[in-house]
Symmetry: C2
Subunit: 456 residues, 2 copies
């Protein structure tokens, strides 16, 4: 049975994944903070993306560009002129509405006056364009000359650094430039928890290729990115590809595929893979008067490269991963909530649980903790009953729990409990690392020789 969003929001709050931002002041519109569990999950998602997209590829390099960029970047990219939504304002209550949203509810004439304000029924102004970029002022003077924007995408950081990277990295095309970082859009209608927020984190890569090879690379990256979500452990039945039709395409895109996930709000975009053509480099080439063409030593040609862009969101991926891993089940006549996360994504890899808070068990349990925490994110918990502590670990998706009991003091063995099968084995303390590494590799842990050796 699919989980609804309320259950996810509740789990996130209860177990320290996601809190409303500035909650003690009533929250701030669609901004969220990641708690102790959320931040570890986020770090793991980022690391898996970086490993797949940068570390394991000799044809991609990483960067981190600043959030504040020169305003001319956004003029050249088209964001100052075109990154805007048409809004109408109510003449009575002064609330503003997206024409697109009003359109969905019924017809609306071009001057926006045939409809009334959905809130108070007042008369609406004609639509005006409203830019989605956040604007601030750099330096001591609040005047037009010092306006800077918060980036609405990380992508432009790659385009304006293309020349620097080609020059200093000595790499040849095809070459990707990848970045993870926050972006900001002053959305009129954010919502659905962390699905659409005004501050969000992107994982973007611009893959520069020779014109003519772009469609083939576009297909390659669509497949590659789709399979990445499968590797994260997301169920294939909850993923689908949505190729954009011509009238859905952004003006700069030759083609675009969305990878969609079956969220509780319906199929929605997780990642977009776009063939941006040479739009951005052509624009910056002209606006900056810097030659952004590439000399292809093999063919002797000089050209402005085409760009394939897989653009993913950290927050959306995190949400999809949580929804996909969430299970409620009845075990031993008790309900449990369990996150069946890919162990590589689990915020905590192993919990060390002394059977009770006891002066004899504590030193050994601390020793076990100290022996693991340098290599694995480890949780130490000695409060409440062992059953409740197991349940707490299930709720945050901890793959293995290690229990130290009085027999451990004698035989230096501990009990390992598997999150998914609930099976328990007893192993010598010095084989714990091995067991954890096997589980993290996603091997069929219960058919391993280690498991067989420990079975009681």
């Amino acid at each position: 049975m699919p989980v609804d969003m309320e259950k996810i929001v509740s789990l996130c709050k209860r177990r320290g994944f996601v809190f409303p931002s500035s909650e003690i002041y009533g929250g701030l519109g669609s901004c969220w903070d990641y708690g102790p569990m959320g931040v570890e999950l986020k770090r793991n998602i980022r690391d898996m993306w970086w490993k797949a997209m940068v570390q394991e590829r000799s044809d991609v390099v990483g960067i981190e560009s600043s959030i504040m960029m020169h305003p001319r970047v956004w003029q050249a990219s088209g964001h100052v002129g075109g990154f805007a939504d048409p809004l109408v304002e109510c003449k009575s209550c002064h609330l503003r509405w997206r024409v697109e949203d009003l359109d969905k509810e019924g017809t609306m004439s071009e001057d926006g006056n045939s409809r009334r304000c959905p809130s108070c029924g007042g008369e609406l102004t004609p639509p005006r364009m409203f830019n989605l970029m956040f604007k601030t002022f750099m330096g001591a003077l609040e005047e037009e000359a010092s306006v800077v924007y918060l980036r609405p995408e990380t992508a432009q950081g790659m385009f304006v650094n293309f020349d620097n990277i080609i020059t200093t990295s000595r790499k040849k095309l095809p070459l990707g430039i990848a970045q993870i970082g926050r972006s900001f859009r002053n959305e009129i209608t954010p919502g659905n928890f962390i699905f659409r927020t005004r501050e969000f984190e992107q994982m973007e890569m611009e893959f520069f290729v020779k014109p003519g090879t772009d469609e083939q690379w576009f297909d390659y990256w669509t497949k590659e990115r789709f399979s990445w979500y499968l590797k994260l452990g997301i169920k294939e039945k909850n993923l689908r590809l949505h190729p954009h039709s011509k009238d859905e395409l952004a003006h700069y895109a030759k083609s675009c595929d969305d990878i969609e996930y079956l969220f509780p709000i319906g199929w929605s975009e997780l990642e977009g893979i776009a063939n941006r053509g040479n739009y951005d480099l052509i624009q910056h080439n002209a606006a900056s008067r810097r030659n952004l063409s590439y000399y292809d030593a093999e063919s002797g040609e000089r050209y402005i490269p085409y760009v394939i862009e897989p653009s993913a969101g950290v927050d959306r991926t995190l949400l999809a991963v949580l929804i996909d891993a969430y299970h409620e089940e009845v075990v031993e006549n008790r309900e449990r909530v369990v996150l069946r996360l890919n162990p590589s994504l689990s915020p905590v890899k192993v919990a060390v649980l002394p059977l009770s808070k006891n002066e004899k068990l504590t030193p050994m349990a601390r020793e076990v903790y100290e022996g693991l925490c340098a290599d694995f994110m480890t949780c130490y918990d000695d409060a409440q009953s062992i059953g409740r502590r197991y349940r707490r670990q299930d709720e945050i998706g901890t793959p293995l729990c290690v229990t130290i009991d009085f027999a451990s003091l004698e035989d230096h063995q501990v009990t390992i409990r598997d999150r998914d099968s609930l099976a328990q084995i007893r192993l010598p303390i010095d084989r714990l690392k091995e067991a954890l590494e096997a589980k993290l590799k996603g091997e069929a842990f219960e058919s391993s020789s280690l498991w067989a050796a420990g079975r009681r």
Copy 2:
């Protein structure tokens, strides 16, 4: 001989550590982008901090809060009222100046009129307060109600989440909450490369303790943080502690120690460790009307905790690490620049270098690359002479280079070259991982049995 800043800036540009932001548009005042090498170094610094401050401690948890927070956070924290510099403006050329900077050059009367504009000699206005927070507008209306600030520190994210974290983590005091993230200050006089910038990345931790134990924890964290920089590999002679005198303290601080590094611009702050007392929680407790006190079950007391805050900068640490590792030396009658980085910090751990670009060597070299890149950040380079490629790797601090030559095709052995000693040994391909792991652990690699076995 100490290195000057120009050499570091030049290396950073030349080898892809740091580029000026939006460089093709002439740059943006004191904003910088991290290139392929810079981003890896930054990631390693962040990871080492997170490991030491969160992963290996059961008394610290992590969070990531949003950059945009509720404006009342900054009213309560004192930033709206007090986070300001007094500025004077020239009545002729309208440039603005920090009173503090003019003071340094000579005496200045309280109304600021006794001095003239350093640029044009014009008359100056009386000083006015200028807030250092960047301001923007959220939602569709640009009016006071929708003003939000970009955070000038990550710390307030921890204070406003204190209650959420105590409730959901079931941890007891002393407890730390740690965060890594970008902060923004509209500095009037930024400069010295990435030392003082308007957009920067902080690594902050708020350690909540029982009042009365605060000075003891303050001493503990000062020692702990000082030793962290030694673990990064920074030379002890270039580090010093600067305890603040009473008149240097911020209004909220009971005491503060700076860890300083001997930058080319002189001894300057790398990190501040402050005893913030209960200032922030008291302020938020009053402003939010939420009870932010803590019930201490052991002693039966209820109190507002005191806070010790070690606050470090990613960018400054990166700069110090680069300066400290930079060496020019003459080897075999040729000059080389080498970054003697702690191998854990090196952007690239190992370079795979076929002796020449050759159809017989390439497949084996690619195989060696593929075998390493899942575990280590690996570089593959087959262009130019082997000597030049070694020099390039020295300049970015790569600890080990692996060379594949024609003999490798016969005996499946490769040559490993050590960055620091320049010694070379020959080892079977299947022992490469072992050699790398030994080097990364910082063991005396050349006295290892592996090294002895491979010595020619």
